[in-house]
Subunit: 168 residues, 2 copies
Amino acid sequence: MSTSSTAADPLSALDWSVDNCTLGRAMAILGERWTVVVLREIFLGVRRFADIQEHAGVPRQVLTNRLARLVEQGVLRRVPYQSEGARTRHEYRLTDMGLELQPVLIAITRWGDRHLADPDGSPREFAHRDCGEPVHVELRCAQDHRVGDREVTSRPGPGAHARVRASR
Amino acid sequence: MSTSSTAADPLSALDWSVDNCTLGRAMAILGERWTVVVLREIFLGVRRFADIQEHAGVPRQVLTNRLARLVEQGVLRRVPYQSEGARTRHEYRLTDMGLELQPVLIAITRWGDRHLADPDGSPREFAHRDCGEPVHVELRCAQDHRVGDREVTSRPGPGAHARVRASR
């Protein structure tokens, strides 16, 4: 994901449209701090409205909106539950689409761990359920090479559209 | 990153404080759509104010703010350049901290590609510079096992603080 024109793509990045950019669309779902905080809670197993509100300190109305949007967008689903003697309530679980955000949340957290942690370290760590070892995110290519952050390039994909450039 | 109490952590996720959550801190930097769009441009090699503004359609004032914040937070640095006969201007480059967002942006984009692309596919794809093969993000543990999205658990890290629970 770098630099303008290469042999693979003689046009500059500027020549391609970003109207159908899937990063942009993904961030229209995620691109707001509380949305990801709500997802963090649900990944942690905190699935009930009152618990999320109290644990994460999300304002009530914000939480109502974010949960409704995440359900609408297919990231979460509402599942009814009933505590003894109480009326039916709902908890929120990840759909498959939501569960596939696991690498996104881990990548963000690991970056935060490296650059934004307190001196005593990160408050939470991820582990492989089977062996207990810490989990991290890696870039790999289809040939299974490990790919460094500087070894990534980008090129137009199948949905690339040339764009009409505004004259300046 | 899942479920409440396990053998490794007899307390519930609710018992731990999120005040020093590094995901929360990372999203305080990234948690807004335009910030990530600006980073996308810079990763693509679009580094100049006017180019970013025109290519990504970021409103001028928003772009000014986002760039200033990203520089302040250590994600970008301003580098002067001079076109022939023009006054000195600045372009924006990734710092090391910024470059380490590569896996985050790729993870988000790949998730968007899977769930939010148009029928003709993603407009942009990532490739390994050396071999040209497509790049994706993988979860791996310290024993180098591939870790599935459902095989991740989380536990308190070195910086975990028990929290004072509000009484309900």
